[in-house]
Amino acid sequence: MTISPAITSPERRPLRLAGLLPWLFAVLVVGYAMVVGGYAATVVSFALIYAVFVTGLNLFMGFAAQVSFGQNAFAAIGGYLSAVLTATYGWSPLPAMALGIAAAVLTAAIVGYPALRLKGHYLAMGTLAIGLITYEITVEWQSVTQGYMGISGIPPFGIGPYEITSDRGQLVLLSLVVAASLFAAARIRRSRFGRALSAVAGSEEAAVALGIDVARYKLAAFLLSAGFAALAGSLFVHVVGFVSPEVFGLHMVIVTFTMLYVGGIGTVVGPLVGALIVSLLPETFRAFKDYQDLAYGAALILLLIYAPRGLASLFSPRGRS
């Protein structure tokens, strides 16, 4: 197949404008939730927390094309450290969150250094094990995590005496965190660091031949991804005020993979679009009552048939070919 510049160039401008559509969609959804508040605000808040997690997942799986079924482990570390330090030991949320992220990144470094020697299915199985082990720890280490009972009474975010307790306040905070996360992803994409990740994704052999330390960049992407996961985990516990092992269980892995692929793996805006769509779809099908799950499943299949590279890719030149 040959693409001559003469044919594709005139299409460029409208496509670039079309590229803004996913962003517009996200702004409208968040704006709607802000105005309506209540249940809609709760659903969208969860979607935004997922968007942070999936943005991290995308750095590892989309940008660097590696596989991890165990990022929920790092969300659990971030979430539980935040929960225990604030609810049990009376820390304020921000330092607890910072420590949670640091602990998750450190764990990722210890686990990732040997695990990243694995490739493909083996890496997938290895990371899956990390997620399952962490889940078991949150269930069994009852003196700290209170097992299935979970930890309640986790304080919301705040600075000094000002606590963000309203739905709308939380939405604003989460929107800012998501915006910062996507901004970071976009900057990484267009940098020496991001290009090295793309090179690892494209051909490890060619990357090595150009002097790129493949193992180092894989590990860096893994650590970044773990950092985002821990941030999302911590955001969750402070927004909801409660945490239990199920929050970061296997269900989270499945949901976030769906979000990543539905939204558009490897794109910047994809994780946000995917997180919003996958969170909202079941709600839109609520009217189908008993058939809600069926309709949701059918909608996902249709999405994957008609937008195999994700919704965001429908609006980028690369996705059209």
């Binding site: 693409i3 940098s191 020496r192 660091f193 290009r195 090595v208 031949a209 150009l210 002097g211 790129i212």
Partner: protein
Amino acid sequence: MSRLRLEGVTRRFGGLVAVDNVSFEVPAEGVTAIIGPNGAGKTTLFNLIAGALPPSAGRILFEGADITGRPPAGIAAAGLVRTFQLVKLFEDLSVLDNVKVGCHLQGKAGLFGALLRFASAREEEAAVDVRARELLAFAGLSAFADEPAFGLPYGRQRMLELARAMAAGPRLILLDEPAAGLNTEESAALARVIRRIAEEGTSVLLIEHDMTLVMNTADRVVVVDFGRKIAEGTPTEVRANPAVIAAYLGTGKSATGAAVTASDHQETARG
């Protein structure tokens, strides 16, 4: 001092000796070609030089330093960069970004440079952009800069791989059958680019089946057959060498030698 020096380099795969006690030097100036029938061990030799495989015996010296057994990324960082027999582009990246990846070794910016865009990172990025565009112009690919690499016609993909390797700033570039699959016109254009690379001070070592390309570009030729070096010299000298004629035409060779030559002819006809 020679750019590259092989001393008794040997590589065995089980009982098979793919590269057998090969010694030669690549001078800093000009183009050196390694030729030989299919299965002669040329690509294995390249993999040994580039660090993709460790040699079973022997030493490889790059600019006087022993690089035997160093990891491939380290060898690239030392200034010895290779291309592949089967093009390995970063298909999802644009043509320009492929060359920018090639500039990796020229830069230093890391994660924080990416996130915070310090002045130094911005300057580096601007320099990379200028350098990458120069190389695209050099390879005749400027018009395709923003196209995805997977959409390029095959001949241009080869040129892109060459431009990307040059972006790494090598002092010696290894080209593994750069003319494979190119038509006569593309092959001639490639020969001109290779000559220019050599004239601008990068030593070139290439493996090639396309004899026209070798005769048009190479200053020196090393001939290998069955893993051994059988001749060395200028293209004219090598062409007149009876051992080389025997290796290529199968005269006085065993049946296996003839079979190798036959498959080699098929390869040439296909390309």
